[in-house]
């Protein structure tokens, strides 16, 4: 059994237990490793391969396909048929550039909005009485467990013209005419902020809760106003949480499909939606693959930055 070998405490004992344990260790590593190689890494190689292919009306709808029976010759023939046509196409048609730019814009603005809403919540949670904190934390996490699709769907009933929000605003007399919110960018912002708020609140809460309150007391003793001591002490010390939260919201928001599709209008194009349409409606698999590869490149920078920031955090906490 593979689990046999989890403990490998010291080198001496692992040598003592002999080759059987080595086999166990190898199997323990090999099973998840091979699984991920086949079902996670290999698919990306295939996406890259197909992004260099041409679309044809066939099954599967791309050319060239690799025929194993032709062996090495077939592989070479396939290599020769590859070209960068799809990537050229992506630069020529402004649709793709526009979807990348609008994804960047929407993801950035909604990340900022989520920060502005999430920070006060995390701050208040960290300042809440000790016995309340676990419950509050649970309350933040709980919506995350309910279906994403359903939570986004719930906003249609609120935002549409005859929805709850307009009903409420008309009733209070704030507006005279119903607002059009559904199928606009505003609806997408609301959807993203709502769906990803826990991702922002949790890392912020983690740093704010550990904040050394004696620093704030010292600042007050030295004559700082509460606002100033927040500005010079709390905010700078919570920067790691701000970074982590922003990355956790920005990265998934960039490739978001469900929110722009359900809440956004037809004029809003985001890259996730473009990929979906390219694949399911236009059935252009090679172009969809090229879009995916470019989206991946767009994500590499924030992901690497996030990784670096996490590593720095780990070192500091050590």
């Amino acid at each position: 059994m593979t689990v046999a070998d989890i403990t490998s405490p010291t080198d001496e004992t692992s040598k003592a237990s002999g080759t059987k344990a080595d086999w166990g260790r190898t199997l323990l590593i090999a099973i998840p490793y091979i699984w991920l190689l086949i079902f996670f890494l290999a698919p990306f190689v295939i996406v890259f391969k197909i992004s260099l292919s041409d679309v044809v009306i066939a099954r599967p709808p791309y050319f060239p396909t690799f025929d194993l029976s032709e062996g090495w010759q077939g592989f070479l023939a396939m290599l020769q048929a590859f070209d960068l046509e799809n990537y050229v196409w992506l630069t020529e048609d402004t649709l793709y550039l526009n979807s990348y730019l609008s994804s960047l814009k929407i993801a950035s603005i909604s990340t900022l909005l989520t920060l502005c809403i999430g920070y006060p919540i995390a701050y208040s949670m960290a300042k809440a009485p000790q016995e309340w904190r676990a419950t509050l934390l649970m309350l933040v996490i709980l919506p995350f467990w309910t279906s994403f699709l359903i939570r986004v769907y719930a906003w249609i009933g609120i935002l549409k013209k005859e929805g709850f929000l307009n009903y409420f605003l008309l009733w209070t007399g704030i507006i005279d005419e119903p607002l059009t919110i559904l199928n606009t960018d505003t609806a997408i912002y609301i959807g993203i902020v709502y769906s990803y708020l826990p991702f922002m609140v949790l890392p912020l809460y983690a740093v704010l809760e550990k904040l050394d309150t004696s620093l704030l007391e010292a600042a007050t003793d030295l004559g700082c106003s509460p606002l100033k001591s927040f500005w010079v002490i709390t905010l700078p010390l919570s920067l790691p949480g701000i970074w982590a939260g922003c990355f956790l919201v920005f990265i998934p928001a960039l490739g978001e499909f469900v929110i722009p599709d359900i809440l956004g209008g037809s004029s809003t194009i985001m890259i996730g939606k473009t990929l979906w349409v390219e694949f399911f409606s236009n059935r252009d698999w090679p172009v969809a693959s090229a879009v995916a590869i470019l989206l991946l490149f767009l994500l590499i920078l924030p992901i690497v930055l996030f990784q670096k920031q996490q590593e720095k955090q780990m070192e500091v906490s050590r």
Binding site: V3, I6, W35, L36, P129, L275
Partner: protein, 272 residues
């Protein structure tokens, strides 16, 4: 510092209202008599009845539950193995790649994961349907499971395992008798997380699935595109209730286990 002040109270009230009002409104209006979703016309459970008599919903629910159960169970086993590799197996060639492959699926946009898996299935000439969705779900939820179990493994010392080995346990029995009981709450949490991820997933399932294997989110999505319907409200409320009950029960069970362990530890220290 230890009491709520007006600022904190207001923020928390508004914040939680924002988080919960949409779901609460949806649940209330699932009991609405009228077909017009936002106009209240009296209490009724007719939409719940129509959900239960809707064969396509029930079929989709059955597919979703089977995929969820199977994929969560396998993903938890693989995820636990991966967590052990990350925390206990020591260095080996390619560990960086392994770690990367565990964390990458969590930040990968679903459209990319879905597309890439679909293209793999097409290349391998798999018939798309129940099994391809299950394979896809195992792959992404095992990474989440690995992270959850790994967080638990990282916080407890290897002392206990080493003690068991010193006392003559084989590695396998040390794992079964010492490690497994300690990390069991985390494994349970990992299973639940994997199960809900599978239950929720629309994008990856849409890519990986084929005719005959429509999952509930796919069914809901196709209905949502047409507009808000009270049936979907009722179905959503059922799903939310099931998940909420599951999560709350699980957290109570873990809490109980934790209290019991703390009590035992205290007794043990007192005895010595």
């Amino acid at each position: 510092m230890t009491r709520f002040n007006w600022f904190n109270t207001t923020t928390l009230t508004l914040g939680f209202a924002f988080l919960y009002l949409p779901i609460i409104l949806l649940m209330i209006y699932s009991f609405n008599e009228s077909r017009l979703v936002t106009v209240w016309a009296g209490f009724s459970t007719r939409w719940y009845q129509s959900v239960f008599f809707n064969e396509s919903f029930m079929n989709a629910a059955w597919v979703t539950l089977r995929v969820g159960f199977l994929s969560a169970s396998i993903a938890t086993v693989f995820g636990t193995m991966a967590a052990l590799v990350l925390n206990r197996a020591g260095p080996f060639t390619g560990k960086t790649l392994f770690t990367g492959m565990i964390y990458a699926p969590m930040v990968m946009p679903e459209v990319i994961t879905g597309l890439s898996l679909l293209l793999l299935f097409v290349s391998l000439d798999f018939t798309r349907g129940f099994w391809t969705v299950t394979l896809a779900h195992i792959t992404f939820s095992m990474c989440y499971a690995a992270v959850v179990v790994s967080a638990r493994l990282a916080t407890f010392e290897k002392d206990l395992e080493e003690a068991a080995l010193d006392l003559g346990c084989t590695r396998f029995s040390a794992f079964m008798q010492v490690t497994l009981p300690i990390i069991f709450p985390a494994i349970l949490a990992a299973w639940l997380l994997a199960f809900t991820l599978s239950l929720d997933d629309l994008v990856i399932a849409s890519f990986a699935s084929g005719p005959g294997a429509t999952t509930l989110p796919m069914k809901i999505y196709s209905q949502v595109r047409i507009g808000v319907s009270p049936e979907i409200n009722a179905l959503s409320s059922i799903l939310i209730a099931v998940v909420a009950i599951g999560v709350v029960t699980a957290s109570l069970v873990t809490k109980q286990a934790q209290l019991k362990r703390m009590k035992e530890e205290r007794l043990a220290t007192n005895a010595s």
